[in-house]
């Protein structure tokens, strides 16, 4: 089979204890039989470990934070593209997606292809919009309310029973057993991720997840359900196992078909004691544990790149149940010159 030559730009090189999906995505695409790939890493911070993984990235550029606005990002990408001639870009952070989605047309004009959810899809599945989302698509969802002002926290007890979940609009989720704890988490989350902070009904059960890819026409290209077996204090999966859970796949197909979901997706679900599945979050991107899906037989990042390139992709029909991933940490030795180069020149 003739391999396709591509220049692929990827963000999310933060392979830390709160890992971004960049490195697993790159690993999946490097292992794909379909591409000869040159990987251009895009990093926000100079100590993102992926910057220094020379077997994963061919070149890395620093890019401005999404908070600096789409203009600054596009300017930087124009420069990077003039050197690298990027074919496909896979953004991997929730916080940057909006900027990339808004700039999709501009990127297209630059010859850079993406395969992202539409703005409507992105907006309607927001944590603060989850109750309406559940109603619209007939899903079990927890009651959720956005809180914009610290002084409204006292009102929570009128509508919710403690404990409640306190969540950031992009990341972070904490359980709070009383008003004081809500205030503490509200301060921490709002300082980091801004407002609103979301108060969510606590659903008792087992957390299970699905990684999936929609083709934008209502078809599910692939989906693998997983249960976290080892969870870090940041709530991240450090080990997990693929499941034989037809009801989770049915739910995924339903959501992708009803929303005509385009791109990668992670469903965060709670299975209650009576086997109901509650949708607690829909992340509009590939999750950091995506390599489990690859190991189980579904190379979803490869399929996403093919979709971005406008190629026809046949849906995956099966995957291996009982495949596990176990994450590990590893110390790379890095010469100071490399750190100096990325810090001062913004590229390496």
């Amino acid at each position: 089979m003739n391999k396709i030559n591509i220049n692929l730009a990827v963000t999310g090189l933060n392979n830390t204890d709160n890992p971004g999906p960049g490195i697993p995505v790159i690993r999946a695409i490097r292992e794909s039989g379909s591409f000869n790939v040159r990987v251009i890493g895009l990093a926000y911070e100079t100590l993102e470990p992926g910057i220094y993984m020379t077997d994963m990235v061919d070149k890395v550029y620093m890019v401005p934070y999404p908070s600096e606005g789409s203009e600054a990002l596009i300017q930087r990408l124009e420069y990077i593209n003039s050197v690298e001639n990027i074919d496909v870009l896979i953004p991997n952070f929730d916080a940057e997606l909006f900027t990339f989605m808004k700039s999709a047309q501009k990127l297209e004009e630059m010859g850079i292809k993406t395969f992202l959810p539409t703005l409507k899809q992105f907006e309607e599945r927001h944590k603060s919009n989850l109750p309406e989302f559940g109603k619209r698509y007939n899903l079990h969802v927890p009651k959720s309310s956005p809180v914009l002002d610290r002084k409204d926290i006292g009102e929570i007890r009128k509508e919710y029973e403690y404990p409640v979940m306190v969540k950031g609009k992009f990341y972070d989720a904490y359980i709070a057993y009383n008003e004081e704890q809500v205030k503490m988490h509200f301060n921490k989350i709002s300082a980091k991720w801004g407002l609103p902070v979301i108060i969510q009904e606590f659903i008792k059960g087992t957390e299970v997840n699905v990684v999936a890819l929609g083709d934008g026409k209502g078809n599910t290209i692939g989906a693998v359900p997983m249960r976290k077996q080892y969870i870090t204090d940041k709530g991240k999966a450090w080990g997990g196992i693929s499941l034989d859970a037809p009801d989770m796949l049915d739910l995924t197909h339903h959501i992708i078909s009803a929303t005509k979901w385009r791109g990668g997706m992670e469903l965060e679900l709670i299975r209650t004691e009576d086997d109901k599945l509650y949708v607690i979050e829909i992340n509009p991107r590939i999750p950091a544990w995506v390599y489990l899906a690859v190991g189980a037989g579904q190379n979803l990042p490869e399929a996403l790149v093919k979709l971005a390139l406008g190629k026809e992709v046949k849906p995956y029909k099966s995957f291996d149940v009982g495949k596990m991933f176990v994450r590990y940490s590893y110390d790379m030795i890095v010469d100071l010159e490399k750190f100096e180069q990325i810090s001062t020149k913004g590229e390496i």
Binding site: T206, V208, M226, R227, Q229, G240, I241, S242, L243, D244, A245, R271, V321, G322
Partner: protein, 98 residues
């Protein structure tokens, strides 16, 4: 963490035949994996033997007969241990009522 599932604890009495959930995988070493939940458990030899019988759809009477022939245990004690073990399996949603 893999939970131990041994057959030692006193039990409540309950008389009905049970079936192992269809897709449960049991290895010779006594490792049980429930692919629908991702949970896994380990059993001692006697637990493994009983689960093997359940997989073969043997009735309680058939299992009791085999076990009494093989082990030095009286019928009442076996029944007590057996149903306690079954209760554990039931709580872990590894078996379904006949």
């Amino acid at each position: 963490m893999v939970q131990d599932l041994n057959i030692f604890i006193p039990a409540k009495f309950k008389r009905k035949d049970m079936k192992l959930k269809k897709n449960i995988a049991v290895s010779e070493s006594g490792f049980i994996f429930d692919p629908s939940t991702g949970e896994s458990f380990s059993m001692n030899n006697i637990g493994t033997e009983i689960v093997e019988y359940l997989k073969q759809d043997k009735s309680f009477e058939e299992i009791k007969k085999s076990m009494l022939e093989k082990y030095e245990v009286d019928s009442t004690s076996f029944e007590k241990y057996y149903y306690d073990f079954i209760n554990s399996l039931q709580q872990l949603k590894l078996i379904v009522d006949e």
